[in-house]
Amino acid sequence: MLPTAPVALLWLQIFNPDSGLANYVLSWFGVPPQKWIYSEDWAMPCLIMMSIWGIGTGLMIYLAGLQGIQRDLYDAAHVDGAGWWAELRHITLPMLSPTIFFNLVLSIIGSFLVFTQSFVMTNGGPNNATLTYVLYLYKQGFQNFEFGYASALAWVLFMIVLVLSALVFRSAPFWVHYEGDAR
């Protein structure tokens, strides 16, 4: 939900090797200070942690999906003596599967388009450890002015996203349950 770029500044401070919160929390457990975004091994996990903090949108969609499930289904299951596991397995998950599907497709597409985190926090470094596809495309197009190459990269990216989305859409009939209409 929150603007990624300013929030990245905050995370830069949290992952600051000298005075950051991350090292402070680790010190409670007796773990020695880490170099975080300045280390090739840790830079990507740092960006992932930061992205996980921004899951609000997906969460909101799940919440809306959960609220859309009719109460009487649970009442009926309760009468039949279903436990929480049976309710989860046979009501919540099937009824939520369109929402899960929607979030899955969005996050697959979104993952390929990660740009801001790497651009602001590490600029692709250290040693290209956090160089994402779109960041590379941006650098080729708008820093090296290789517009032709960047356009070709964009086409390949589109093909990858298209094929992956198509595969997910193909898998939908096996696990996504649409109440009411047979699609």
Partner: protein, 302 residues
């Protein structure tokens, strides 16, 4: 008095099992465990926020302390106005951002409403086909069309103006059209028929009959649009090069280069970051019910 026959068997049942095996206790224990997990989870999510505000309220001396204070000593509220344009002219950036955000938002609400109404209510040839085409543009990441778009805007001499960031929004966008169209479909057609008999054309039917019923989804679209344009980083980064035309979000990223220099007060930087985050949080809290309703009613069924 009717409760009396009821009491005896319950007392018996309680006596049968030890108190820690009782249903009430185990239920309560589950509750406590659940709340403990939830508190831990939301606590770790709130920690960065706390960190942000803590740093924004500190003096430079307090910031250099390790470990940091739980509550900054002393608390410096002045950072919020002194830090505002300490390094870059954030008042200019705020005006730029508001201009872009409001014109874009207005454009998206107006154009998407009209197009959604068209798809939901007006009969025209190949309607289903065009709707599928529209939906397929949702699959196309904006980064893919970035270069041809940049090329077109460069030919129009629009680079380094606000136009590339505002004008495209006046031509609709697939996600909002889809969302609004789903809502239009839920309104009974009898409303339109009644309006037509009373002599309304399409536009008056839309404006006076249907739109008043569509307030929640319209607010949802406006809020989504506001947040998206307020937070946009890629667009301004590509199209704006004159520092006087920068947006708030773009301005904050310029502060990154200042990190680590001793003459920069980190608290000022964090105060500016807080300022960019506050409008989004405020709008989100205000409009939360519309969001949920907006998504829930359309059903996220694709």
């Amino acid at each position: 008095m009717t409760a009396e026959p009821d009491l005896a068997p319950r007392a018996l049942a309680v006596a049968d099992v030890a108190w820690w095996q009782g249903r009430r206790f185990r239920h309560g224990l589950g509750r406590v465990a659940l709340y403990a997990v939830l508190t831990l989870g939301s606590g770790s999510f709130l920690l960065p926020f706390y960190c942000l505000v803590n740093m924004a309220l500190s003096t430079p001396e307090a910031l250099s302390k390790f470990p940091p204070d739980l509550i900054p000593q002393p608390i410096v509220f002045a950072n919020f106005w002194e830090g505002w344009d300490a390094y870059y002219p954030f008042t200019v950036y705020l005006v730029n951002t508001l201009t872009i955000t409001f014109l874009s938002m207005l454009g998206q609400v107006v154009s998407c409403t009209l197009v959604a109404f068209g798809f939901a209510r007006v009969r025209f040839p190949l309607r289903r086909f065009w709707f599928t085409v529209l939906l397929s543009t949702m699959m196309l990441p904006s980064q893919v069309t970035l270069i041809p778009q940049y090329y077109i805007f460069a030919k129009l001499h629009w680079v380094n103006t606000f136009n590339p960031l505002i004008v495209p929004n006046w031509f609709g966008s697939a996600f909002y059209i889809f969302l609004l169209r789903q809502f239009f479909m839920t309104l009974p057609r009898e409303l339109d028929d009644a309006a037509r008999i009373d002599g309304c054309g399409y536009l008056r039917t839309l404006g006076q009959v249907l739109l008043p019923l569509l307030k929640p989804p319209l607010v949802a679209v406006a809020v989504f649009s506001f947040v998206a344009h307020w937070s946009d980083f890629f667009g301004p980064l590509i199209y704006l090069s004159d520092p006087k035309k920068f947006t708030m979000v773009l301005g904050t990223t310029m502060l990154v280069s200042s990190f680590g220099h001793s003459y920069v007060n980190l608290a000022y930087v964090m105060a500016v970051v807080t300022w960019t985050v506050i409008p989004v949080l405020a709008v989100y809290f205000w409009a939360q019910r519309y969001f949920i309703e907006g998504i829930a009613l359309t059903g996220v069924r694709g």
